[in-house]
């Protein structure tokens, strides 16, 4: 979906706060992130479906937490009543803690997943190859995608063929497709710039074959 998360090229967010610190207790924020990773099958599609106004008003870990709560309640994994009961307890009793359990089978399998580098597969064959000029398709994609708006319709050059993978958000046994690193000239993206002190530069972005057409 083309949601608020697709921020490349937007104006209005001001200067980068280079010294910003996490507004949540950072370890607890990581804990919320971990719960999302362990209990949802893919977090980004869920994050992107969040109401755009809520997305902008939440801090990073809050977005993860809200989306995880919503999705797990929708699935019936946990209930609103259950969450409310525990919130009452933690709100009123500063010594109360979540129950503690250990996995009977151990957690080595989960840890191995976290500590293994996911590599791409070999090419499955593609009409495109390195140095080809390609145009990013104009489209209004439904569901999770990896093609930001700011490059659509723009011509770039394939810099590297990366191999293939299943498009994220699709079932793991879906057909793989090739992925390419495409280089765009800033003049093609944003036009000639004379007033803001930005000489031309390159933007490199990795694109699945379905987003490209010959140029």
């Amino acid at each position: 979906m083309d949601g608020i998360h697709d921020m490349g090229g937007m104006h209005g967010f001001g200067a980068v706060d280079v010294d910003a610190v996490e507004s949540s207790h950072s370890l607890l924020g990581t804990r919320a992130q971990v719960m999302a990773m362990l209990s949802l099958n893919g977090v980004r599609p869920v994050l992107e479906e969040q109401d755009p106004a809520a997305y902008l008003q939440s801090h990073y870990h809050e977005r993860w937490l809200t989306c995880t709560e919503d999705r797990l309640v929708d699935r019936g994994t946990v209930t609103d009543q259950q969450l409310e009961r525990w919130r009452e307890i933690f709100d009123h009793d500063a010594t109360a803690m979540p129950p503690k359990t250990v996995a009977e089978q151990g957690v080595e399998g989960l840890i191995a997943h976290l500590t293994t580098t996911p590599l791409l597969h070999e090419s499955v064959g593609s009409p495109f190859s390195t140095d080809d000029r390609v145009r990013v398709r104009r489209m209004a994609p439904i569901g999770h995608h990896r093609c930001p708006r700011y490059i659509r319709g723009v011509v770039g050059v394939i810099e590297r063929a990366l191999g293939s993978d299943v498009l994220p958000g699709k079932p793991e046994d879906s057909e793989r497709e090739d992925i390419f690193t495409v280089r765009f000239d800033s003049v093609d993206l944003w036009g000639e710039r004379t007033s803001d002190g930005e000489p031309a530069y390159d933007v490199f972005i990795d694109l699945y074959e379905r987003y490209l057409e010959p140029a």
């Binding site: 129950p99 503690k100 359990t101 580098t117 690193t181 390159d202």
Partner: protein
Amino acid sequence: MSHDHDDSSEHGHSHYDSPASRRARSSFEVRSMALEAALVENGVLTTDAIDAFVDIMEHRFGPHHGARVVAKAWSDPEFKQRLLADANAALTDLGIGGTEGNVRVVENTDDTHNMVVCTLCSCYPWPLLGLPPTWYKDYAYRSRAVLEPRGVLKEFGVEIDPDVRVAVWDSSAEVRYFVLPQRPSGTEHMSEDELAALVDRNSMIGTGVVPAPA
């Protein structure tokens, strides 16, 4: 699948037991603890799995790995060549890897300055750099890095010579980008450990450069 576990020292709720958590809990803390309690209560997750993941993401992954890789690349031309050609193989040899760790290394030179962003999310090479800094996840950086990279770099105190081409890497798919910064002058006699101590996180994202030692 799981059973109650009373040993508070082995899997202590270290993240909750700090003095900070004795003050009034924020709404975020209350909600996060409630979600954990519900997931554990229902047997969906176990505390030891959550603890192990948090520990790896907060401690095993981190910029100390990235700095070690940079120092080795500066010191060992053969390693540098392999790192640029096939980073994943070179990093596996060093025991560095994990989720969000399918890496391509891009080298800063006299002609090119690389910087990394994720406009759609906040993708980042976790095993090499740990979890991203707050600014990397914020809207200002995500929106502007591809639109006015030099303007953004100035906010980090980095001025790039007009003759140097800036290359912005928007990590939209599964590869994560890592910048090999330029080695500063005056470091010719330094050991890898001494070099690694000079390399900070931002220089490996491309929003910093490694300064010459004072």
